[in-house]
Symmetry: none
Subunit: 154 residues, 2 copies
Amino acid sequence: MATTHLAKYRSVILYSMSLAVLLLLLKWLEWRFIIVDYAFEIYAGFVAVIFTGLGVWLALKLSRPKTITIEKEVLVNSNEFVLDEGRLTKLGLSRRELEVLQLMARGLSNQQIAEELFVSLNTIKTHSSKVFEKLEVQRRTQAIEKAKRLSLIP
Amino acid sequence: MATTHLAKYRSVILYSMSLAVLLLLLKWLEWRFIIVDYAFEIYAGFVAVIFTGLGVWLALKLSRPKTITIEKEVLVNSNEFVLDEGRLTKLGLSRRELEVLQLMARGLSNQQIAEELFVSLNTIKTHSSKVFEKLEVQRRTQAIEKAKRLSLIP
DNA sequence: TTCAAAATCACCCTAAAGTATGACAGGGAA
DNA sequence: TTCCCTGTCATACTTTAGGGTGATTTTGAA
């Protein structure tokens, strides 16, 4: 960006100096009464050149920059767990089934889960079977792994 | 962007029409021998206006777009996992046992782990039993949970 | 109120997981 | 060389998990 600016300024300065030299040259020629007949055309040429430059300058100065948005991934440790409710309903997992899944992930056996939830072992078996069906897995370890991947459990 | 272009084109058209009208007007005036004395200045004005426009056009056409980069934060779970080797040796877990633990965490059954590692099912049972001993747990789900907590697996 | 989904429980059976014990080979350190 | 750890495998047994089926009760939405 800085180099670009410098280059632009250099161009402008060179441009101006060239014009100045040309102007002096013309003035000198005018003094010599040589090109008086062409004074009009030369003047017009000057005007053309100068105003072309003015136009360029105006355009560069006033044109709004064309913005390009670049999404840059910034790594952020987002450890806070947020349950993906959308996926939950999409899979058709009920509250109780999710509850069983969570306790599973904490390493509890079916018996322990049953005691934790004050229901029978058979009930937990039913729930876990449904969880496996809905998650399309065969084992509790797979269920845990998939549930973590799907943001159903932390 | 489209509207901007339309607006620009509209401006150009209006500009051109205005110039045309002005030109006709001047021609008419010239015909009337009124403004003959100012023909030079008017011509110069024309040139100035036209070449300003040319300059603007050139600049817009040829200038590279000024880009503005906008960094957008995208939350990424970048919890790059680093194995806690210290804890590993402290627990006395061998390489093979860790390997079995990792495959366990991916939801594989003992049979699948055995096939993955080209050893017998009994060998995996032995390994997993030792893992449970060293992690002081009773079940594989507990082992997975504890190993994750202890940064032994991702 | 009615009805479907959710939740509960039981029984039976198979598969998988886990425990206990013993054995053997290879590699590396004392 | 000896000895211990690791890795391997086997057998036998118990426990837990998982699948299938059927049944009853609760509950929430139409």
